[in-house]
Protein backbone atom coordinates (compact mmCIF):
# COMPACT_ATOMS: atom_id res chain seq x y z
CA UNK A 1 0.00 0.00 0.00
CA UNK A 2 1.39 3.37 -1.03
CA UNK A 3 0.99 5.99 1.72
CA UNK A 4 1.40 8.86 -0.74
CA UNK A 5 -1.71 7.74 -2.59
CA UNK A 6 -3.67 7.09 0.59
CA UNK A 7 -2.89 10.44 2.16
CA UNK A 8 -3.55 12.36 -1.04
CA UNK A 9 -7.01 10.75 -1.12
CA UNK A 10 -7.52 11.56 2.57
CA UNK A 11 -6.52 15.19 1.91
CA UNK A 12 -8.89 15.38 -1.02
CA UNK A 13 -11.82 14.09 1.07
CA UNK A 14 -11.08 16.36 4.03
CA UNK A 15 -10.85 19.37 1.75
CA UNK A 16 -14.26 18.48 0.39
CA UNK A 17 -15.69 18.33 3.92
CA UNK A 18 -14.28 21.75 4.71
CA UNK A 19 -14.97 23.46 1.41
CA UNK A 20 -18.33 22.07 0.34
CA UNK A 21 -20.97 24.08 2.24
CA UNK A 22 -23.55 21.28 2.27
CA UNK A 23 -21.06 18.70 3.58
CA UNK A 24 -19.62 21.15 6.07
CA UNK A 25 -23.08 21.88 7.41
CA UNK A 26 -24.14 18.25 7.78
CA UNK A 27 -20.87 16.98 9.19
CA UNK A 28 -19.62 19.85 11.33
CA UNK A 29 -22.07 22.73 11.74
CA UNK A 30 -25.19 20.62 12.23
CA UNK A 31 -23.81 18.71 15.25
CA UNK A 32 -22.51 21.96 16.73
CA UNK A 33 -25.85 23.75 16.27
CA UNK A 34 -27.72 20.67 17.50
CA UNK A 35 -25.61 20.51 20.65
CA UNK A 36 -25.96 24.22 21.35
CA UNK A 37 -29.70 24.17 20.71
CA UNK A 38 -30.35 21.09 22.82
CA UNK A 39 -27.99 22.29 25.49
CA UNK A 40 -29.78 25.61 25.63
CA UNK A 41 -33.22 24.01 25.64
CA UNK A 42 -32.64 21.10 28.00
CA UNK A 43 -29.32 21.76 29.64
CA UNK A 44 -27.74 24.14 32.07
CA UNK A 45 -25.99 26.92 30.19
CA UNK A 46 -23.41 28.29 32.56
CA UNK A 47 -24.46 25.63 35.06
CA UNK A 48 -27.27 27.73 36.55
CA UNK A 49 -30.36 27.05 34.51
CA UNK A 50 -32.55 24.03 35.18
CA UNK A 51 -35.54 22.52 33.50
CA UNK A 52 -38.89 22.83 35.30
CA UNK A 53 -41.59 20.20 35.17
CA UNK A 54 -45.29 20.86 35.64
CA UNK A 55 -46.82 18.29 37.92
CA UNK A 56 -50.28 17.95 39.42
CA UNK A 57 -50.70 16.87 43.03
CA UNK A 58 -53.85 15.23 44.43
CA UNK A 59 -53.61 15.31 48.19
CA UNK A 60 -56.03 12.81 49.72
CA UNK A 61 -54.56 13.26 53.20
CA UNK A 62 -56.05 16.65 54.03
CA UNK A 63 -57.76 15.75 57.28
CA UNK A 64 -56.77 13.87 60.36
CA UNK A 65 -53.94 14.14 62.87
CA UNK A 66 -51.05 13.41 60.47
CA UNK A 67 -51.83 15.83 57.64
CA UNK A 68 -48.65 17.89 58.32
CA UNK A 69 -46.67 15.08 56.58
CA UNK A 70 -48.43 15.54 53.27
CA UNK A 71 -48.05 19.33 53.59
CA UNK A 72 -44.34 18.86 54.21
CA UNK A 73 -44.09 16.54 51.20
CA UNK A 74 -45.77 19.10 48.95
CA UNK A 75 -43.52 21.85 50.32
CA UNK A 76 -40.46 19.75 49.55
CA UNK A 77 -41.72 19.15 46.02
CA UNK A 78 -41.91 22.91 45.52
CA UNK A 79 -38.52 23.46 47.16
CA UNK A 80 -36.74 21.33 44.53
CA UNK A 81 -36.91 24.32 42.23
CA UNK A 82 -37.42 21.88 39.37
CA UNK A 83 -41.14 21.21 39.84
CA UNK A 84 -44.03 23.55 39.42
CA UNK A 85 -46.90 22.21 41.56
CA UNK A 86 -50.55 22.46 40.72
CA UNK A 87 -53.17 21.27 43.24
CA UNK A 88 -56.11 19.16 42.08
CA UNK A 89 -59.16 18.28 44.19
CA UNK A 90 -59.61 14.86 42.59
CA UNK A 91 -57.54 12.33 40.75
CA UNK A 92 -59.96 12.50 37.80
CA UNK A 93 -59.48 16.22 37.24
CA UNK A 94 -55.70 15.80 37.41
CA UNK A 95 -55.83 12.87 35.00
CA UNK A 96 -57.85 15.01 32.62
CA UNK A 97 -55.15 17.68 32.48
CA UNK A 98 -52.45 15.02 32.16
CA UNK A 99 -54.27 13.50 29.20
CA UNK A 100 -54.39 16.91 27.56
CA UNK A 101 -50.69 17.48 28.10
CA UNK A 102 -51.22 20.45 30.43
CA UNK A 103 -49.08 18.78 33.08
CA UNK A 104 -46.37 16.12 32.75
CA UNK A 105 -47.16 14.03 35.82
CA UNK A 106 -49.68 13.48 38.58
CA UNK A 107 -48.67 12.60 42.12
CA UNK A 108 -51.51 11.15 44.21
CA UNK A 109 -50.83 11.32 47.94
CA UNK A 110 -52.83 8.55 49.64
CA UNK A 111 -55.12 9.23 52.64
CA UNK A 112 -52.85 7.20 54.95
CA UNK A 113 -49.69 9.00 53.89
CA UNK A 114 -49.26 10.89 57.17
CA UNK A 115 -50.17 7.84 59.20
CA UNK A 116 -47.54 5.84 57.34
CA UNK A 117 -44.86 8.46 58.02
CA UNK A 118 -45.83 8.66 61.65
CA UNK A 119 -45.75 4.87 62.02
CA UNK A 120 -42.21 4.92 60.73
CA UNK A 121 -41.05 7.41 63.31
CA UNK A 122 -42.91 5.58 66.07
CA UNK A 123 -40.94 2.42 65.38
CA UNK A 124 -38.13 3.27 62.97
CA UNK A 125 -36.36 -0.04 63.47
CA UNK A 126 -39.39 -2.31 63.39
CA UNK A 127 -40.88 -2.50 59.90
CA UNK A 128 -43.57 -4.89 61.07
CA UNK A 129 -45.27 -1.98 62.82
CA UNK A 130 -45.18 0.36 59.81
CA UNK A 131 -48.33 1.29 57.91
CA UNK A 132 -47.23 0.69 54.34
CA UNK A 133 -48.70 2.78 51.56
CA UNK A 134 -47.96 3.89 48.00
CA UNK A 135 -47.71 7.32 46.45
CA UNK A 136 -49.27 6.90 43.02
CA UNK A 137 -47.42 8.46 40.14
CA UNK A 138 -48.88 8.97 36.68
CA UNK A 139 -46.59 10.11 33.89
CA UNK A 140 -47.15 11.49 30.44
CA UNK A 141 -45.95 8.52 28.42
CA UNK A 142 -45.42 10.80 25.43
CA UNK A 143 -42.88 12.89 27.29
CA UNK A 144 -39.45 11.37 27.52
CA UNK A 145 -38.53 14.04 30.05
CA UNK A 146 -41.37 13.03 32.34
CA UNK A 147 -40.66 9.31 32.09
CA UNK A 148 -36.98 9.74 32.72
CA UNK A 149 -36.55 12.59 35.12
CA UNK A 150 -39.64 12.84 37.33
CA UNK A 151 -39.72 9.42 39.11
CA UNK A 152 -36.30 9.79 40.69
CA UNK A 153 -37.10 13.35 41.76
CA UNK A 154 -40.31 12.25 43.48
CA UNK A 155 -38.48 9.38 45.18
CA UNK A 156 -35.83 11.75 46.41
CA UNK A 157 -38.36 14.28 47.73
CA UNK A 158 -40.21 11.48 49.48
CA UNK A 159 -37.04 10.33 51.18
CA UNK A 160 -36.20 13.89 52.21
CA UNK A 161 -39.72 14.34 53.63
CA UNK A 162 -39.48 11.19 55.68
CA UNK A 163 -35.94 11.55 56.98
CA UNK A 164 -35.47 15.28 56.82
CA UNK A 165 -32.30 14.78 54.75
CA UNK A 166 -31.44 12.84 51.59
CA UNK A 167 -30.96 9.16 52.35
CA UNK A 168 -30.04 6.98 49.45
CA UNK A 169 -30.54 3.52 50.84
CA UNK A 170 -32.54 3.73 54.07
CA UNK A 171 -35.83 1.78 54.17
CA UNK A 172 -39.19 3.52 54.51
CA UNK A 173 -42.84 2.46 54.47
CA UNK A 174 -43.85 4.53 51.46
CA UNK A 175 -43.16 3.40 47.93
CA UNK A 176 -43.22 5.24 44.63
CA UNK A 177 -43.74 3.39 41.38
CA UNK A 178 -40.20 3.95 40.15
CA UNK A 179 -37.88 3.86 43.14
CA UNK A 180 -34.47 4.05 41.44
CA UNK A 181 -32.34 6.79 42.92
CA UNK A 182 -30.62 8.91 40.33
CA UNK A 183 -29.19 12.24 41.28
CA UNK A 184 -31.87 13.92 39.25
CA UNK A 185 -31.64 17.19 41.07
CA UNK A 186 -28.08 17.61 39.77
CA UNK A 187 -28.74 16.36 36.26
CA UNK A 188 -30.45 18.16 33.46
CA UNK A 189 -32.28 16.54 30.59
CA UNK A 190 -29.32 17.31 28.40
CA UNK A 191 -27.12 15.08 30.56
CA UNK A 192 -29.32 12.17 29.50
CA UNK A 193 -29.30 13.28 25.88
CA UNK A 194 -25.64 14.18 25.37
CA UNK A 195 -24.30 10.63 24.75
CA UNK A 196 -26.93 10.20 22.06
CA UNK A 197 -26.02 13.54 20.50
CA UNK A 198 -22.48 12.24 19.87
CA UNK A 199 -23.86 9.21 18.03
CA UNK A 200 -26.49 11.33 16.30
CA UNK A 201 -23.80 13.44 14.65
CA UNK A 202 -21.78 10.47 13.40
CA UNK A 203 -24.83 8.78 11.89
CA UNK A 204 -24.99 11.42 9.18
CA UNK A 205 -21.65 10.25 7.80
CA UNK A 206 -23.73 7.63 5.98
CA UNK A 207 -25.32 10.34 3.88
CA UNK A 208 -22.16 12.32 3.15
CA UNK A 209 -20.17 9.21 2.19
CA UNK A 210 -22.96 8.02 -0.10
CA UNK A 211 -23.39 11.46 -1.66
CA UNK A 212 -19.67 11.91 -2.14
CA UNK A 213 -19.18 8.54 -3.83
CA UNK A 214 -22.22 8.81 -6.08
CA UNK A 215 -21.25 12.35 -7.11
CA UNK A 216 -17.72 11.20 -7.91
CA UNK A 217 -19.17 8.29 -9.85
CA UNK A 218 -21.53 10.56 -11.80
CA UNK A 219 -18.67 12.93 -12.59
CA UNK A 220 -16.46 10.11 -13.85
CA UNK A 221 -13.95 10.61 -11.05
CA UNK A 222 -14.10 7.04 -9.75
CA UNK A 223 -13.39 5.77 -13.28
CA UNK A 224 -10.61 8.29 -13.59
CA UNK A 225 -8.97 7.16 -10.34
CA UNK A 226 -9.38 3.62 -11.64
CA UNK A 227 -7.11 4.49 -14.59
CA UNK A 228 -4.28 5.19 -12.14
CA UNK A 229 -2.29 2.52 -10.27
CA UNK A 230 -4.36 3.23 -7.13
CA UNK A 231 -5.53 -0.07 -5.66
CA UNK A 232 -8.98 -0.65 -4.14
CA UNK A 233 -7.38 -1.14 -0.72
CA UNK A 234 -5.65 2.26 -1.01
CA UNK A 235 -8.90 3.90 -2.07
CA UNK A 236 -10.94 2.42 0.78
CA UNK A 237 -8.21 3.06 3.33
CA UNK A 238 -8.37 6.71 2.28
CA UNK A 239 -12.12 6.66 2.87
CA UNK A 240 -11.71 5.06 6.28
CA UNK A 241 -9.02 7.46 7.49
CA UNK A 242 -10.73 10.62 6.26
CA UNK A 243 -14.05 9.65 7.82
CA UNK A 244 -12.46 8.62 11.11
CA UNK A 245 -10.74 12.00 11.27
CA UNK A 246 -14.06 13.68 10.50
CA UNK A 247 -15.78 11.68 13.25
CA UNK A 248 -13.10 12.60 15.77
CA UNK A 249 -13.46 16.27 14.89
CA UNK A 250 -17.24 15.90 15.27
CA UNK A 251 -16.91 14.32 18.71
CA UNK A 252 -14.42 16.98 19.81
CA UNK A 253 -16.66 19.81 18.61
CA UNK A 254 -19.78 18.31 20.15
CA UNK A 255 -17.89 17.79 23.39
CA UNK A 256 -16.62 21.36 23.47
CA UNK A 257 -20.07 22.74 22.63
CA UNK A 258 -21.67 20.54 25.26
CA UNK A 259 -19.11 21.72 27.80
CA UNK A 260 -19.89 25.33 26.88
CA UNK A 261 -23.59 24.79 27.60
CA UNK A 262 -22.82 23.35 31.02
CA UNK A 263 -22.42 19.64 30.30
CA UNK A 264 -20.06 18.06 32.82
CA UNK A 265 -19.70 14.35 32.13
CA UNK A 266 -18.53 11.91 34.73
CA UNK A 267 -15.42 9.89 34.10
CA UNK A 268 -11.77 10.71 33.70
CA UNK A 269 -9.36 11.25 30.82
CA UNK A 270 -9.37 7.50 30.08
CA UNK A 271 -13.15 7.57 29.73
CA UNK A 272 -12.91 10.50 27.38
CA UNK A 273 -10.20 8.83 25.30
CA UNK A 274 -12.24 5.64 25.10
CA UNK A 275 -15.28 7.65 24.03
CA UNK A 276 -13.24 9.04 21.12
CA UNK A 277 -12.14 5.53 20.17
CA UNK A 278 -15.70 4.20 20.29
CA UNK A 279 -17.01 7.03 18.16
CA UNK A 280 -14.27 6.68 15.56
CA UNK A 281 -15.04 2.96 15.29
CA UNK A 282 -18.74 3.77 15.12
CA UNK A 283 -17.91 6.14 12.25
CA UNK A 284 -16.75 3.12 10.26
CA UNK A 285 -20.16 1.52 10.59
CA UNK A 286 -21.62 4.58 8.94
CA UNK A 287 -18.96 4.65 6.24
CA UNK A 288 -19.97 1.05 5.49
CA UNK A 289 -23.63 2.02 5.33
CA UNK A 290 -22.59 4.90 3.05
CA UNK A 291 -20.85 2.46 0.70
CA UNK A 292 -23.93 0.21 0.63
CA UNK A 293 -26.12 3.25 -0.07
CA UNK A 294 -23.81 4.40 -2.86
CA UNK A 295 -23.95 0.91 -4.36
CA UNK A 296 -27.73 0.88 -4.47
CA UNK A 297 -28.33 4.53 -5.40
CA UNK A 298 -28.23 5.41 -9.06
CA UNK A 299 -27.60 9.11 -8.46
CA UNK A 300 -26.44 11.45 -5.71
CA UNK A 301 -30.02 12.65 -5.28
CA UNK A 302 -31.22 9.11 -4.75
CA UNK A 303 -28.33 8.51 -2.36
CA UNK A 304 -29.56 11.30 -0.09
CA UNK A 305 -32.97 9.69 0.24
CA UNK A 306 -31.71 6.13 0.47
CA UNK A 307 -29.24 7.04 3.19
CA UNK A 308 -32.19 7.61 5.50
CA UNK A 309 -32.96 3.90 5.32
CA UNK A 310 -29.88 3.53 7.51
CA UNK A 311 -30.01 6.89 9.27
CA UNK A 312 -33.57 6.82 10.62
CA UNK A 313 -33.48 3.48 12.47
CA UNK A 314 -30.14 4.38 13.98
CA UNK A 315 -31.38 7.83 14.90
CA UNK A 316 -34.71 6.80 16.45
CA UNK A 317 -33.65 3.54 18.03
CA UNK A 318 -30.09 4.25 19.05
CA UNK A 319 -29.66 7.85 20.18
CA UNK A 320 -31.27 10.22 22.68
CA UNK A 321 -34.43 10.10 20.58
CA UNK A 322 -35.00 6.52 21.68
CA UNK A 323 -35.30 7.23 25.40
CA UNK A 324 -39.08 7.27 25.40
CA UNK A 325 -39.65 4.35 23.04
CA UNK A 326 -42.11 1.54 23.54
CA UNK A 327 -40.87 -1.79 24.85
CA UNK A 328 -40.95 -3.40 21.41
CA UNK A 329 -39.02 -0.48 19.91
CA UNK A 330 -36.49 -0.71 22.72
CA UNK A 331 -36.07 -4.39 21.92
CA UNK A 332 -35.54 -3.49 18.26
CA UNK A 333 -32.93 -0.94 19.26
CA UNK A 334 -30.60 -3.81 20.18
CA UNK A 335 -30.21 -4.41 16.44
CA UNK A 336 -28.83 -0.97 15.57
CA UNK A 337 -25.13 -0.18 16.15
CA UNK A 338 -25.85 3.36 17.36
CA UNK A 339 -27.57 1.92 20.44
CA UNK A 340 -24.29 0.39 21.61
CA UNK A 341 -22.27 3.53 20.85
CA UNK A 342 -24.77 5.62 22.81
CA UNK A 343 -24.96 3.08 25.62
CA UNK A 344 -21.19 3.01 25.97
CA UNK A 345 -21.02 6.80 26.19
CA UNK A 346 -23.96 6.85 28.61
CA UNK A 347 -22.12 4.37 30.83
CA UNK A 348 -18.95 6.44 30.71
CA UNK A 349 -20.40 9.93 30.96
CA UNK A 350 -23.70 9.58 32.85
CA UNK A 351 -23.30 6.49 35.00
CA UNK A 352 -19.62 7.17 35.62
CA UNK A 353 -18.66 3.62 34.69
CA UNK A 354 -14.92 2.99 34.42
CA UNK A 355 -13.43 2.32 30.98
CA UNK A 356 -12.82 -1.28 32.00
CA UNK A 357 -16.43 -1.98 32.99
CA UNK A 358 -18.12 -4.95 31.38
CA UNK A 359 -20.95 -2.87 29.93
CA UNK A 360 -18.56 -0.51 28.17
CA UNK A 361 -16.38 -3.32 26.87
CA UNK A 362 -19.36 -5.29 25.58
CA UNK A 363 -20.66 -2.17 23.84
CA UNK A 364 -17.23 -1.50 22.35
CA UNK A 365 -17.01 -5.10 21.13
CA UNK A 366 -20.42 -4.95 19.48
CA UNK A 367 -19.62 -1.63 17.77
CA UNK A 368 -16.26 -3.03 16.59
CA UNK A 369 -17.80 -6.21 15.19
CA UNK A 370 -20.53 -4.18 13.47
CA UNK A 371 -17.94 -1.85 11.95
CA UNK A 372 -15.92 -4.75 10.49
CA UNK A 373 -18.98 -6.55 9.14
CA UNK A 374 -20.69 -3.48 7.67
CA UNK A 375 -17.46 -2.06 6.21
CA UNK A 376 -16.54 -5.37 4.56
CA UNK A 377 -20.05 -5.76 3.20
CA UNK A 378 -19.98 -2.19 1.93
CA UNK A 379 -16.58 -2.62 0.25
CA UNK A 380 -17.53 -5.92 -1.37
CA UNK A 381 -20.84 -4.59 -2.68
CA UNK A 382 -19.37 -1.29 -3.85
CA UNK A 383 -16.47 -2.97 -5.65
CA UNK A 384 -18.77 -5.43 -7.37
CA UNK A 385 -21.76 -3.27 -8.24
CA UNK A 386 -21.13 0.33 -7.27
CA UNK A 387 -18.09 1.55 -9.17
CA UNK A 388 -19.87 2.25 -12.44
Amino acid sequence: MNSQRVFSLVGKDLKKTIRDPATLFIIILFPVILTLAFGAAFGAIGGTQQTRYQIGVVNMDLTGPYQQWSQRFMGNLTDTGILTIQDYPTNESAQGDLAQGKIQAVVAIPADFGQSCDSFWTAPTNPSLWVNTTVLLYLDSGSMFATQAIPPIIQQVLTTTLYGTQQATAPNPIQVGSPSLVEASELTMFDYMAPGVFAYAAIFLTMTVAQSLTTDRENGLLRRINTTPTTPSEFFTGQVISNMITALVQVALVFVMAFVVGYRPKGDVTSLALAFVIMSIFALVNVGFGLITATIAKSSGAATGLAFVFILPQMFLGTFVGAALSQSAQAASRFVPSFYATDALTSLFLRGAPASSTTVLVDLSVVSICSVVVMLLGIILFRKYGKT
Binding site: Q4, R5, S8, L9, K15, R19, N219, R224, P229, T231
Partner: protein, 253 residues
Amino acid sequence: MTRNSINEATIVVDDLVKRFEDVTAVEGLSLEVEKGELFGLLGPNGAGKTTTINILCGLLEPTSGSASVGGHDVRKEPRKVKELIGVCPQDTATYPHLTGRENVELFGNLHAMPKEKLKERADELLARMELLEDSNRRVGKYSGGMKRRVNLIMALIHDPEIAFLDEPTVGMDPQSRRAVWEFIKDLKRQGKTVILTTHYMEEAEELCDRVGIIDNGKLIAHGTPESLKTKFKARNLEDVFIQLTGRRIREGL
Protein backbone atom coordinates in the same frame (compact mmCIF):
# COMPACT_ATOMS: atom_id res chain seq x y z
CA MET B 1 -3.47 -4.47 -39.53
CA THR B 2 0.13 -5.49 -39.01
CA ARG B 3 2.79 -2.94 -39.86
CA ASN B 4 5.48 -4.02 -37.44
CA SER B 5 6.35 -6.98 -35.36
CA ILE B 6 4.62 -7.20 -31.97
CA ASN B 7 7.87 -6.33 -30.21
CA GLU B 8 7.94 -2.91 -31.82
CA ALA B 9 4.32 -2.13 -31.21
CA THR B 10 3.34 -0.48 -27.93
CA ILE B 11 -0.34 -1.21 -28.31
CA VAL B 12 -1.61 -4.39 -29.88
CA VAL B 13 -5.31 -5.13 -30.27
CA ASP B 14 -6.37 -8.44 -31.74
CA ASP B 15 -9.92 -9.32 -32.78
CA LEU B 16 -11.38 -7.35 -29.89
CA VAL B 17 -15.08 -7.73 -29.20
CA LYS B 18 -17.16 -5.96 -26.57
CA ARG B 19 -20.86 -6.60 -26.16
CA PHE B 20 -23.24 -4.90 -23.73
CA GLU B 21 -26.20 -7.28 -23.46
CA ASP B 22 -27.59 -7.21 -27.03
CA VAL B 23 -25.48 -4.29 -28.27
CA THR B 24 -22.09 -4.91 -29.86
CA ALA B 25 -19.98 -1.82 -29.19
CA VAL B 26 -16.72 -3.19 -30.63
CA GLU B 27 -16.68 -5.95 -33.19
CA GLY B 28 -13.50 -7.74 -34.21
CA LEU B 29 -11.20 -4.75 -33.87
CA SER B 30 -7.50 -5.33 -34.59
CA LEU B 31 -4.79 -2.72 -34.67
CA GLU B 32 -1.24 -1.98 -33.67
CA VAL B 33 0.27 1.30 -32.58
CA GLU B 34 4.01 1.85 -32.66
CA LYS B 35 6.01 3.40 -29.88
CA GLY B 36 6.12 7.18 -30.40
CA GLU B 37 3.22 7.13 -32.80
CA LEU B 38 0.22 9.45 -32.64
CA PHE B 39 -2.71 7.34 -33.70
CA GLY B 40 -6.16 8.77 -34.26
CA LEU B 41 -9.36 6.80 -33.76
CA LEU B 42 -12.01 8.52 -35.82
CA GLY B 43 -15.69 7.94 -35.89
CA PRO B 44 -19.06 9.35 -34.96
CA ASN B 45 -20.48 9.24 -31.45
CA GLY B 46 -21.33 5.67 -30.48
CA ALA B 47 -18.89 4.18 -32.99
CA GLY B 48 -16.97 2.33 -30.25
CA LYS B 49 -13.99 4.66 -29.79
CA THR B 50 -14.43 5.26 -26.07
CA THR B 51 -15.26 1.60 -25.42
CA THR B 52 -11.98 0.65 -27.11
CA ILE B 53 -10.06 3.16 -25.00
CA ASN B 54 -11.78 1.92 -21.83
CA ILE B 55 -10.72 -1.64 -22.60
CA LEU B 56 -7.14 -0.55 -23.25
CA CYS B 57 -7.12 1.33 -19.91
CA GLY B 58 -8.35 -1.69 -18.00
CA LEU B 59 -11.71 -0.10 -17.18
CA LEU B 60 -13.73 -2.61 -19.19
CA GLU B 61 -13.25 -6.33 -19.71
CA PRO B 62 -13.43 -7.32 -23.38
CA THR B 63 -16.00 -9.97 -24.30
CA SER B 64 -13.40 -11.70 -26.46
CA GLY B 65 -10.14 -10.99 -28.20
CA SER B 66 -7.02 -9.61 -26.63
CA ALA B 67 -5.27 -6.30 -26.06
CA SER B 68 -1.90 -5.39 -24.69
CA VAL B 69 -0.44 -2.03 -23.74
CA GLY B 70 3.32 -1.62 -23.34
CA GLY B 71 3.66 -5.37 -23.58
CA HIS B 72 1.20 -6.02 -20.74
CA ASP B 73 -2.06 -7.85 -21.25
CA VAL B 74 -4.86 -5.52 -20.18
CA ARG B 75 -6.77 -8.39 -18.57
CA LYS B 76 -3.92 -10.11 -16.80
CA GLU B 77 -1.76 -7.14 -15.82
CA PRO B 78 -4.04 -4.12 -15.52
CA ARG B 79 -1.92 -2.59 -12.76
CA LYS B 80 1.21 -2.62 -14.96
CA VAL B 81 -0.79 -1.03 -17.75
CA LYS B 82 -2.04 1.71 -15.41
CA GLU B 83 1.51 2.56 -14.40
CA LEU B 84 2.33 3.32 -18.04
CA ILE B 85 -0.68 5.25 -19.17
CA GLY B 86 -2.31 8.62 -18.76
CA VAL B 87 -5.99 8.94 -19.58
CA CYS B 88 -7.85 12.10 -20.47
CA PRO B 89 -11.55 11.21 -20.36
CA GLN B 90 -14.03 12.56 -22.85
CA ASP B 91 -16.18 14.21 -20.16
CA THR B 92 -14.31 16.55 -17.87
CA ALA B 93 -13.63 14.72 -14.62
CA THR B 94 -12.27 17.13 -12.02
CA TYR B 95 -12.96 17.78 -8.35
CA PRO B 96 -14.79 21.12 -8.23
CA HIS B 97 -13.89 21.80 -4.59
CA LEU B 98 -10.16 21.45 -5.29
CA THR B 99 -8.09 24.11 -6.99
CA GLY B 100 -6.64 23.49 -10.43
CA ARG B 101 -3.25 22.80 -8.88
CA GLU B 102 -4.71 20.47 -6.25
CA ASN B 103 -6.51 18.45 -8.91
CA VAL B 104 -3.31 18.11 -10.89
CA GLU B 105 -1.19 17.28 -7.85
CA LEU B 106 -3.74 14.73 -6.62
CA PHE B 107 -3.28 12.71 -9.78
CA GLY B 108 0.47 13.14 -9.61
CA ASN B 109 0.31 11.69 -6.10
CA LEU B 110 -1.88 8.83 -7.26
CA HIS B 111 0.94 8.02 -9.67
CA ALA B 112 3.35 8.26 -6.71
CA MET B 113 5.44 11.05 -8.23
CA PRO B 114 8.26 12.45 -6.08
CA LYS B 115 7.08 15.69 -4.45
CA GLU B 116 9.66 18.02 -5.98
CA LYS B 117 9.27 16.62 -9.44
CA LEU B 118 5.50 16.84 -9.09
CA LYS B 119 5.57 20.51 -8.20
CA GLU B 120 8.02 21.28 -11.00
CA ARG B 121 5.95 19.41 -13.55
CA ALA B 122 2.67 20.92 -12.33
CA ASP B 123 4.13 24.42 -12.67
CA GLU B 124 5.38 23.60 -16.15
CA LEU B 125 2.12 22.15 -17.42
CA LEU B 126 -0.09 24.79 -15.79
CA ALA B 127 2.04 27.50 -17.35
CA ARG B 128 1.98 25.74 -20.68
CA MET B 129 -1.81 25.61 -20.60
CA GLU B 130 -2.01 29.23 -19.43
CA LEU B 131 -3.55 28.21 -16.11
CA LEU B 132 -0.75 29.17 -13.74
CA GLU B 133 -2.38 32.40 -12.59
CA ASP B 134 -5.67 30.65 -11.89
CA SER B 135 -4.14 27.50 -10.48
CA ASN B 136 -5.08 28.36 -6.89
CA ARG B 137 -8.72 28.97 -7.72
CA ARG B 138 -11.21 26.16 -7.27
CA VAL B 139 -12.02 24.32 -10.47
CA GLY B 140 -15.74 24.72 -9.78
CA LYS B 141 -15.26 28.41 -10.66
CA TYR B 142 -13.40 27.71 -13.92
CA SER B 143 -14.85 28.20 -17.39
CA GLY B 144 -15.57 25.11 -19.47
CA GLY B 145 -12.40 25.56 -21.52
CA MET B 146 -10.24 25.92 -18.41
CA LYS B 147 -11.75 22.75 -16.93
CA ARG B 148 -10.92 20.84 -20.09
CA ARG B 149 -7.32 22.04 -19.96
CA VAL B 150 -7.01 20.95 -16.32
CA ASN B 151 -8.61 17.66 -17.38
CA LEU B 152 -5.79 17.17 -19.88
CA ILE B 153 -3.02 18.15 -17.47
CA MET B 154 -4.34 15.67 -14.89
CA ALA B 155 -3.87 12.92 -17.47
CA LEU B 156 -0.31 13.90 -18.30
CA ILE B 157 1.10 15.17 -15.01
CA HIS B 158 3.09 11.98 -14.43
CA ASP B 159 4.67 12.15 -17.88
CA PRO B 160 3.21 8.83 -19.08
CA GLU B 161 4.77 6.81 -21.86
CA ILE B 162 1.37 6.20 -23.40
CA ALA B 163 -1.46 8.71 -23.43
CA PHE B 164 -5.10 8.06 -24.23
CA LEU B 165 -6.79 11.31 -25.12
CA ASP B 166 -10.52 10.85 -25.59
CA GLU B 167 -11.95 13.82 -27.45
CA PRO B 168 -9.61 16.21 -25.65
CA THR B 169 -10.72 19.35 -27.49
CA VAL B 170 -14.46 18.85 -27.69
CA GLY B 171 -16.31 22.01 -26.75
CA MET B 172 -13.17 24.15 -26.70
CA ASP B 173 -12.91 27.56 -28.28
CA PRO B 174 -10.54 27.73 -31.30
CA GLN B 175 -7.77 29.39 -29.27
CA SER B 176 -7.82 26.75 -26.54
CA ARG B 177 -8.03 24.01 -29.14
CA ARG B 178 -4.95 25.36 -30.92
CA ALA B 179 -3.07 25.43 -27.59
CA VAL B 180 -4.00 21.82 -26.91
CA TRP B 181 -2.93 20.83 -30.42
CA GLU B 182 0.48 22.34 -29.80
CA PHE B 183 0.63 20.49 -26.50
CA ILE B 184 -0.19 17.18 -28.17
CA LYS B 185 2.41 17.81 -30.88
CA ASP B 186 4.93 18.28 -28.10
CA LEU B 187 4.06 14.87 -26.71
CA LYS B 188 4.85 13.40 -30.08
CA ARG B 189 8.14 15.25 -30.24
CA GLN B 190 8.98 13.78 -26.82
CA GLY B 191 8.49 10.28 -28.24
CA LYS B 192 5.27 9.54 -26.38
CA THR B 193 2.75 7.15 -27.81
CA VAL B 194 -0.65 8.80 -28.12
CA ILE B 195 -4.05 7.42 -29.01
CA LEU B 196 -6.38 10.26 -29.78
CA THR B 197 -10.08 9.85 -30.39
CA THR B 198 -11.86 12.63 -32.17
CA HIS B 199 -14.69 13.35 -34.51
CA TYR B 200 -12.98 16.55 -35.70
CA MET B 201 -11.43 15.47 -39.00
CA GLU B 202 -9.26 18.56 -39.24
CA GLU B 203 -7.83 17.70 -35.83
CA ALA B 204 -6.93 14.22 -36.99
CA GLU B 205 -5.31 15.55 -40.17
CA GLU B 206 -3.34 18.12 -38.20
CA LEU B 207 -2.05 15.80 -35.50
CA CYS B 208 -2.13 12.13 -36.38
CA ASP B 209 0.57 9.98 -37.97
CA ARG B 210 -2.05 7.40 -38.75
CA VAL B 211 -5.77 7.15 -38.28
CA GLY B 212 -8.26 4.31 -37.96
CA ILE B 213 -11.85 5.01 -38.90
CA ILE B 214 -14.39 3.16 -36.76
CA ASP B 215 -18.06 2.83 -37.53
CA ASN B 216 -20.56 0.64 -35.68
CA GLY B 217 -17.75 -0.94 -33.71
CA LYS B 218 -15.76 -1.99 -36.76
CA LEU B 219 -12.50 -0.63 -38.09
CA ILE B 220 -13.48 0.23 -41.66
CA ALA B 221 -10.26 1.94 -42.82
CA HIS B 222 -6.82 2.83 -41.54
CA GLY B 223 -3.63 4.45 -42.71
CA THR B 224 -1.95 7.83 -42.82
CA PRO B 225 -4.31 10.73 -43.51
CA GLU B 226 -2.53 11.30 -46.83
CA SER B 227 -2.72 7.67 -47.91
CA LEU B 228 -6.44 7.50 -47.10
CA LYS B 229 -7.15 10.71 -49.01
CA THR B 230 -5.17 9.40 -51.97
CA LYS B 231 -6.81 5.99 -51.87
CA PHE B 232 -10.32 7.43 -51.80
CA LYS B 233 -9.46 10.41 -54.01
CA ALA B 234 -10.81 12.66 -51.29
CA ARG B 235 -10.00 16.26 -50.34
CA ASN B 236 -10.07 15.50 -46.63
CA LEU B 237 -10.86 12.77 -44.10
CA GLU B 238 -14.48 13.89 -43.89
CA ASP B 239 -14.85 12.96 -47.56
CA VAL B 240 -13.16 9.64 -46.86
CA PHE B 241 -15.73 8.94 -44.15
CA ILE B 242 -18.62 9.94 -46.43
CA GLN B 243 -17.36 7.61 -49.16
CA LEU B 244 -17.02 4.76 -46.66
CA THR B 245 -20.32 5.16 -44.83
CA GLY B 246 -22.53 7.34 -47.01
CA ARG B 247 -22.95 9.96 -44.27
CA ARG B 248 -21.09 12.76 -42.53
CA ILE B 249 -19.18 11.91 -39.38
CA ARG B 250 -20.89 14.57 -37.26
CA GLU B 251 -24.47 13.91 -38.37
CA GLY B 252 -25.25 12.19 -35.12
CA LEU B 253 -24.05 15.06 -32.97
